[in-house]
C-alpha cells in the first residue's frame, strides 16, 4: 500500500478525531470525518475502483472534483441505490456502502475485460460498420448488457426534495479567492450578494492549503453581509439570468423521508462566474492506468484530506503549475522522481527546488497493469535521448488548464482560443454573466483578486465592468502527444476513446467537433468532456491542419454536473404532481361508498357499488334506478361561468353556435363552442339571469379552456365589447336530481312549488332558496329524465346532499356516478364532447348543420365551416348503432366498414354501453355519410373480430322527449 495520511498542516478539511467506517465492495474500510469517498479509498490504498465503459479497462480515481471520469461507484443504502456517483464529491458517513460499476463478477476479475482483447476490432464507431445482418436488434441485448455504468434500483425513492426561489442583486458562483473577492466587493458596495460554493466551505484550492489570507477573506465576506451557500452547485444558467443550483442536505442522515437535496432557482441582476479551471490531462500511452492522476488533484488530496496518494511520483507536465505541485508534495515528504516536461526548456517558466526536470520529454510507457509500477521516459524532439525507467507508484498528469467556461457558454457567451496557454477563455462577458479568476483565464493570484473585486464593485454600482486580464498561466503546448510513441493513449477515460480513435474520425471525415464527439463518443461520458474535450479538439485540429479555434468546441449544455431527477422535480411528486381536484363533499361521497376514479384533473365517483358489486353492475343498477324512480348526482365539477355586461348577449352569440341573445330572462339554451377552425371544442347550457347577466355551463374538462378562450376573444379581438367573464366553478356546487320522481323527492323535503315542473319548464333557470341556502336551479337534462340541476354555494353541498339523500331514499332512489350518467346519455344519443367528438369534429357532423344555416350573426369558427372540407359529403357524422344480434356489445374504438362492398374504415364507435332499461347494447358512432345510412348493416371491427351492426335512429329511449317533462 503506497498511500498514507499526512500529518498536519496537511488535511485542513478532515477531522482526525472522527473515524468513520464504510463499505466498499463489501469490504469494511475506515476514513475520517470530512473525507470524500475518493480520499478515503485512496488512503486505504484502493486503486482499482471501476471499469471503463467499452473495454472494461481497470479504472481508478483520477481527479478530486466534479470532473471525475473514472472513480464512479453505486451508492447503496438499504433499498436506496444511487447509481453513478462520483466518489470525489460524496462525503463519507457511517454506514455508507459503495459498489464498483460496470464489472462482473467483480472489479478485479471482470469478464467484460475480455473486450480488451478485441480492442483492435472495436475502434470508434465499429458498430456502424457491422451487426447489420440479419438485424441489429439481435445483437442489441448483448451490447446493452455490456454498456451502461451503474445499476438503478426499482424501489420507490423515500427521500424528499424541495425547491426555493429567490432573487439577489449579484450572484457569485464559486467560492475560491476570485469568487470571494468579487462577493466581498459587491456586498461592500451595497448589493445583496449571494455566493455559491460547491464544497463544504468556501476557500477553494488555496483555502484547502490553509492559507491564512483566505480565512481572512471568508471572515470579511461574512462581515460584508455576503450570503454564503455551501454545498450548493450552480448547474445551469437559463433565460434572463436565472441560475439553478442544487444544495446537498442531510449528507450523513439516512432513512425514509429525509430532506435530501434542495433546488435553488435564483434570479440575479448579474451573475459572476468564478468556478476556476479544470486540469487538462496529458496524452501518453497508458495514461488511463489507475495511479495516473491529475496533478492538482493529488495536491488537493494532500492539502485538504492529508492523503498522500503515492510515495514516489513522476509528473508528466505541460505547464508551470506542475512545479508548484511538485514543490508542495515534496514538503509533504513525497518523493518527486522527475518532472517530464513536454515543453522545450524555453517554455518552462519556473522550476521546483531539488526536482529533476527533463524538458521536451514525456512518458513512453506506463508499467503495471491495474496500478502504476513505473514508467519509461521518452524524448519529444531532438536527437533521440535514451529512454529511462523510473520506478514510481504514481504518475501526475499536468497538461495545463481549461477554464470552466460552462456557465459562460450556457449564458450565450463566446469563447476565444488563448494560444500561449492553450486554452479557451471567455471572449468578453456573456449577457448578464461575467467571469472572474481562472474561469476567465486569469491565473495570476494578484490580478485575479483585483479584477474580481473590480467586477463585483462595478456590477454593484452599475459601472462599466473591466475586461479580464487574461494570463498568468505561463506557456502550454496545445498538443501534448509525442509523435511516434506507440501504445494506447486515451483521450476520454470513461468511454475508452483513444488518440487513435480521433485519428480514425479524422480519416473518415468526422472532422466537425460535433461529429467527432458523436462518432467516437469522446466527451459524452458522465463528465461531459470536462477532462477530455480540449485534448480531443486539439488533436483533431492537429490531424486536420486546423487551429483549435477553427475546430471549436461542442455546445455546453446544462447541467454543469449530473443532477438528481428528484432534485429537479422537487415536491411535484405523488399527490402533489398536478394535484387532483376533489368534490366539495368528498368525504360525504366516500362515506356513501363512492368508487373514485380520475376524470381529467378531477377525482369523481365513477359509481357507488354495493357490497359485492362490480363497477359495471353498480352503474347498471344506478342507471336503471334513474329511469325508474330518481337518482342523485354530484355534478360540482361542471364548468360554470358568469358573463356580465351590456354586451354579454352579443358576445355569447359570437362564442356559441346557438343564438343566446334571444333568450328571455330565466330561459336556457344548449350551445356548441367552436374554435377558429370551426371544430367543436365544448358544449353546454347558457341561461339568462338578467338583461346583461348570463349563467354558462361548460363541460367539466373544458371549463378552463373555454374561459380562457372567452377571455382571449374579449381582450384581443372583440375589445369593443363591454363584458366580464367570471369563472365560478369553485364557488358553486352542483347537485342533480334526475328521474321521473325527481320533483316528488324535492317537494317531499319542502322545495318551493315555484320549482315544480308545472311552474318551471324544461330549459329554464330559476333563482330561489331552500331554507337559507340560495339556489340557482336549472331544468336541463343529460339523462333524458326530468332533472333539476341545483347550483348552490359549495359549503352547503354536504348538508343538501344529506337532505336530498333522505328525500330520494324512500322513493327507492340512489346515488349515481359518472358511469351511469354515460349510460343514460348514450341511451338518449346525447354527445359527450371529447368522447364522441374529437379535434376534427365540426358542428354539422353532429347534427347542427341546420342550426347554423338558421343563424344570422357571425360566430367564432363560422368562416371555417365554409371551406370545401367542411362541406365534404364524406364527412363522419354521428349515428346510433345496434348490434345485428341485439346482444353483442360493440367495443368502443372499434372501426366501422361497409359490408357491401367491404371498404376500408369509414368510422368508429365512440360510446357503447349495455342499456339496463332496454336490456340491449346501445352505441354511438361517427360514420362517413352517417346521416343517410340509416338501416344499413355495417361491420364493426375490433382486434381482428367483426361484429355486424345496424345504423339506427337515435335516441334509443324516449324519442319524443316526453320523459324530460316528468
Amino acid at each position: 500500500m503506497s498511500a498514507w495520511r499526512l500529518a498536519e498542516p496537511f488535511g485542513t478539511l478532515i477531522d482526525r478525531s472522527q473515524p468513520i467506517s464504510f463499505l466498499f465492495n463489501g469490504r469494511s474500510l475506515t476514513g475520517l470525518g470530512g473525507d470524500t469517498l475518493a480520499s478515503a479509498l485512496l488512503v486505504n490504498g484502493v486503486r482499482l475502483v471501476g471499469r471503463s465503459f467499452k473495454l472494461h479497462r481497470p479504472r481508478g480515481i483520477f481527479s478530486c472534483g466534479i470532473e471525475e471520469p473514472t472513480g464512479i461507484v453505486d451508492l447503496l443504502d438499504g433499498v436506496r441505490r444511487t447509481p453513478n456517483v462520483r466518489s470525489t464529491v460524496v462525503e463519507i458517513s457511517p454506514g455508507l456502502a459503495a459498489e464498483s460499476v460496470n464489472c462482473w463478477p467483480s472489479v478485479r476479475f471482470d469478464l467484460g475485460a475480455l473486450n480488451g482483447w478485441f480492442a483492435p476490432l472495436l475502434p470508434a464507431g465499429f458498430y456502424y460498420k457491422t451487426f447489420k445482418w440479419p438485424n441489429w436488434h439481435l445483437f442489441e441485448p448483448t451490447v446493452r448488457r455490456m454498456a451502461g455504468l451503474g445499476r438503478a434500483s426499482l424501489t420507490t425513492d423515500q427521500d424528499r426534495y424541495e425547491e426555493v426561489s429567490t432573487q439577489v442583486d449579484l450572484l457569485v458562483v464559486g467560492g475560491g479567492i476570485a469568487g470571494l473577492a468579487a462577493a466581498i466587493a459587491s456586498a461592500e458596495a451595497g448589493a445583496r450578494t449571494t455566493l455559491l460554493c460547491a464544497g463544504a466551505a468556501p476557500g477553494g484550492g488555496l483555502g484547502a492549503q490553509g492559507d491564512p489570507a483566505v480565512a481572512e477573506m471568508i471572515a470579511k465576506a461574512g462581515r460584508a453581509g455576503v450570503t454564503v451557500m455551501p454545498r450548493t452547485l450552480a448547474f445551469g444558467v437559463y433565460d434572463h439570468n436565472l441560475v439553478c443550483a442544487s444544495e446537498q442536505l442531510a449528507g450523513a442522515t439516512r432513512g425514509p423521508g429525509v430532506l435530501r437535496e434542495r433546488l435553488w432557482k435564483i434570479r440575479a441582476r448579474s451573475i459572476i462566474a468564478a468556478q476556476g479551471a479544470f486540469e487538462r490531462p496529458m496524452i501518453f500511452p497508458g495514461n488511463d492506468r489507475p495511479g495516473v492522476m491529475l496533478s492538482g488533484a493529488v495536491q488537493r488530496y494532500a492539502d485538504a484530506y492529508g492523503v498522500a496518494c503515492g510515495r514516489r511520483i513522476v509528473i508528466a507536465a505541460n505547464c508551470d503549475s506542475a512545479y508548484r505541485v511538485a514543490q508542495r508534495l515534496r514538503t509533504a515528504g513525497i518523493e518527486v522522481l522527475a518532472v517530464l516536461d513536454r515543453r522545450p526548456a524555453s517554455h518552462i517558466g519556473t522550476h521546483a527546488e531539488g526536482v529533476r526536470t527533463l524538458a521536451s520529454s514525456g512518458i513512453g510507457k506506463v508499467l503495471g497493469a491495474s496500478s502504476v509500477k513505473g514508467c519509461l521516459t521518452v524524448a519529444a524532439e531532438g536527437p533521440s535521448v535514451r529512454s529511462e525507467r523510473l520506478d514510481c507508484d504514481l504518475i501526475l498528469s499536468a497538461g495545463g488548464h481549461a477554464p470552466a467556461v460552462h456557465l459562460h457558454s450556457q449564458a450565450g457567451g463566446k469563447l476565444r482560443w488563448e494560444a500561449e496557454a492553450s486554452m479557451f477563455v471567455p471572449d468578453g462577458p456573456a449577457p448578464g454573466l461575467y467571469s472572474v479568476g481562472a474561469c476567465a483565464g486569469v491565473f495570476s493570484r494578484q490580478a485575479a483578486l483585483e479584477h474580481a473585486a473590480d467586477v463585483g464593485r462595478s456590477l454593484a454600482l452599475g459601472f462599466t465592468v473591466p475586461p479580464a486580464p487574461v494570463g498568468g498561466a505561463g506557456r502550454s503546448l496545445a498538443s501534448t502527444r509525442i509523435a511516434g510513441v506507440r501504445g494506447k493513449a486515451f483521450i476520454d477515460l470513461q468511454n475508452d476513446v483513444a488518440a487513435t480513435d480521433i485519428g480514425l474520425a479524422a480519416l473518415e471525415n468526422y472532422r466537425s467537433i460535433e461529429h467527432l464527439k458523436r462518432y467516437t463518443t469522446t466527451g459524452m461520458a458522465t463528465d461531459q468532456g470536462k477532462t477530455s474535450n480540449v485534448n480531443a479538439l486539439v488533436l483533431m485540429g492537429e490531424l486536420t491542419q486546423r487551429e483549435p479555434a477553427q475546430v471549436g468546441t461542442t455546445k455546453f449544455r446544462p447541467p454543469f454536473a449530473p443532477m438528481t431527477l428528484g432534485t429537479l422535480v422537487g415536491r411535484r411528486v405523488g399527490s402533489l404532481y398536478r394535484p387532483l381536484k376533489h368534490l366539495p363533499a368528498v368525504q360525504w361521497h366516500a362515506a356513501h361508498g363512492a368508487l373514485f376514479e380520475h376524470f381529467g384533473n378531477w377525482s369523481r365517483p365513477a359509481a357507488y357499488p354495493l357490497a359485492g358489486e362490480s363497477l359495471n353492475e353498480a352503474a347498471q343498477r344506478e342507471a336503471r334506478c334513474v329511469r325508474q324512480s330518481v337518482g342523485l348526482f354530484d355534478g360540482s365539477p361542471l364548468g360554470k361561468l358568469e358573463i356580465w355586461g351590456p354586451d354579454a348577449a352579443q358576445f355569447l352569440d359570437l362564442m356559441y353556435v346557438g343564438t343566446m341573445s334571444t333568450l328571455r330572462v330565466g330561459q336556457a339554451r344548449y350551445g356548441l363552442v367552436l374554435n377558429a377552425n370551426g371544430v367543436v371544442v365544448d358544449d353546454g347550457i347558457v341561461a339568462r339571469l338578467g338583461e346583461g347577466h348570463f349563467w354558462v355551463n361548460t363541460t367539466s374538462a373544458g371549463v378552463e379552456r373555454t374561459a380562457a378562450a372567452f377571455e382571449e376573444w374579449l381582450q384581443c379581438e372583440f375589445t369593443n365589447l363591454k363584458v366580464f367573464v367570471t369563472a365560478v366553478t369553485a364557488r358553486f356546487a352542483n347537485l342533480t336530481v334526475s328521474g321521473p320522481r325527481a320533483w316528488e323527492a324535492l317537494a317531499a323535503i319542502g322545495f318551493d312549488a315555484a320549482f315544480s315542473p308545472q311552474n318551471m319548464t324544461h330549459m329554464s333557470l330559476r333563482e330561489g332558496a331552500f331554507g337559507a341556502i340560495p339556489l340557482r336551479v336549472l331544468r336541463a337534462s343529460f339523462t333524458g329524465e326530468l332533472s333539476y340541476e341545483i347550483n348552490l354555494p359549495v359549503d352547503e353541498s354536504g348538508g343538501l346532499l344529506e337532505m336530498l339523500m333522505a328525500a330520494i331514499a324512500p322513493l327507492g332512489g340512489c346515488l349515481y356516478g359518472i358511469e351511469a350518467l354515460e349510460i343514460l346519455r348514450t341511451e338518449k344519443g346525447y354527445i359527450h364532447v371529447g368522447t364522441d367528438t374529437d379535434g376534427t369534429t365540426l358542428p354539422g357532423d353532429i347534427g347542427f348543420g341546420r342550426a347554423i344555416d338558421g343563424k344570422r350573426a357571425n360566430f367564432v369558427g363560422r368562416r371555417s365551416l365554409l371551406r370545401p372540407a367542411a362541406r365534404d359529403p364524406q364527412r363522419l357524422q354521428l349515428v346510433a348503432l345496434s348490434p345485428a344480434d341485439g346482444r353483442t356489445l360493440l367495443p368502443c374504438g372499434a372501426q366501422i366498414a361497409a359490408l357491401n362492398p367491404p371498404t376500408a374504415t369509414e368510422g368508429h364507435v365512440t360510446s357503447s354501453y349495455w342499456s339496463p332499461s332496454l336490456d340491449a347494447p346501445v352505441a354511438l358512432a361517427m360514420l362517413a355519410r352517417g346521416g343517410e345510412r340509416q338501416g344499413e348493416h355495417v361491420g364493426v371491427h375490433h382486434l381482428g373480430r367483426r361484429i355486424d351492426a345496424v345504423v339506427v335512429k337515435a335516441p334509443f329511449i324516449d324519442p319524443q322527449g316526453e320523459r324530460l317533462n316528468g
Binding site: 447489420k132 371551406r867 374504438g893
Partner: protein, 417 residues
Amino acid sequence: MRNHYSAWSLLRGALTGHRHWSPAWPEAKPKPAYDVIVVGGGGHGLATAYYLAKNHRITNVAVLERGWIGGGNTGRNTTIVRSNYLYPESSRLYDFSLKLYEGLSAELNFNIMLSQRGLVLLAHSRHDLDAMSRWANAMRMNGIDADLLSREEVASLVPGLDMSPGARVPVLGGFTQRRAGTARHDAVAWGYARAASQLGVDIIQNCEVTGFTQQAGHVVGVETNLGSIRAGRVGIAAAGHSSVLAGLAGFRLPVTSYGLQALVSEPLKPLLDTVVLSPGTGAYLSQSDKGELVIGAMLDLFPSYAQRGSFAITQSILAGVLALFPAYARLKMLRQWAGIVDVVHDSSPIIGRTPVPGLYINCGWGTGGFKGIPVGGWTLAHALATGENHPLAEPFQLERFQTGRLVDEAAASGIAH
C-alpha cells in the same frame, strides 16, 4: 472506391491499424451549377439527395448544410420510429417510412441501429383505453400491427411503473406497436450522406443559403456564404428554419418554430426495454444502447429559435417521469438540450411544391419527423425529379390549409406527433 462496411473489413482494419478507411463522405466544394440543390443537411435533406440519385438517377446534386450534417433536429431527437397513426393517409406515409427503415442498414451498408423493441403507450384512464382501442383498431384496418395491452401486460413490459393503488397517474392498460422502436439518429444522417456521396452527390457543410436567385419568378439558384450556385430545381428541408428560407424566397408557411427539449440520464445497466409513451403526462422515454434514459418533453410553447429550452418545461416533464417511475428519482440528468421544430396546425408534414416555381419543400414534421426521414426524402426526391407530387405526399400539400382538409392526427388522438 469507398470501403464496404462489414465484420471482415473491421477485421482487416484490426490487422492493419485501421488505416484503410476512406472518408464516409468526402468534403466537397460547391460547383457552379447543379441539377438539383437540397437546402439542409438533416436526415430529410440527405435522404432526398440519396433517393434523387438512387431512384431517379439524378446525381448532379448538392446538399447545402449551414453547419454540420445531422446537426439540426436529426441529431437532437429522441430517435423514436413508429407508424401508429390513425388516418389512412398518415398510416401509408409513416408505414412506408418504417418499412424503408427496416431495410436501411443493409441498403446503406451502414448500421443505423434500428431496434424494433416495441412501443408501449400508457392508458391512464378509461377514456384513454377507449381512445387507444380506436387507435389500435384503426391501425389494424390500415394493415399495421397494433395490440391492446392489459394492465398486467404493461406492468411486465415496463418494469418500475408505479402500479400502486394510490398512484397519482394510474396505469390501466395500454397499447403497443411491436414494430416500433428506435434508431441511431446520427447513423441515419451519416448513412444517407455516405450512400448519397457514393452515388456522386456533393455534401457541402458550412454553407448557408442566404437567398434564392429567381428569374421570371422561377428559382434558378441559391445565394450562399460560399457564393451563388445555379440549380435546375431547389428543395428545402430545413425543419425549424423553413420559415426563414421561405421568407428569403418571398412566401410564408403555416409554420411556427418552437423549442422542443430532450434530455438524457447517465448511462445505466438495462432498465427499460421498450419505448414508453404517456400521453397523459407528456413524458416519453426509452433507454439507449449506451444505457442512457432518453427522455422527451413537450414543446416550450412560445416561438423560439434558441436551442436551449426552458427550465420550467424540464421540470414538468421530469415530474411526469417520476409520477410514472418513482424509483427514477435517484437517477441523474446528464444533459439537456432543445431543437427547433417546425409546427403546423395539424402536425402533419408538407411535402411538395411551393408558391414559387422551381422551389419544393419538405417541412412541418414538427416533433415527429425522424421516423419520417426515409419517406420524406423519397417523396421530396420524387417531386424534385418529376415536378409532380408523389402519391403518398398528395394529401400533404400546402393547399390543405385553404381547403381545410387537414390531416389532424394530434387532434384526433390527443397526443403530439
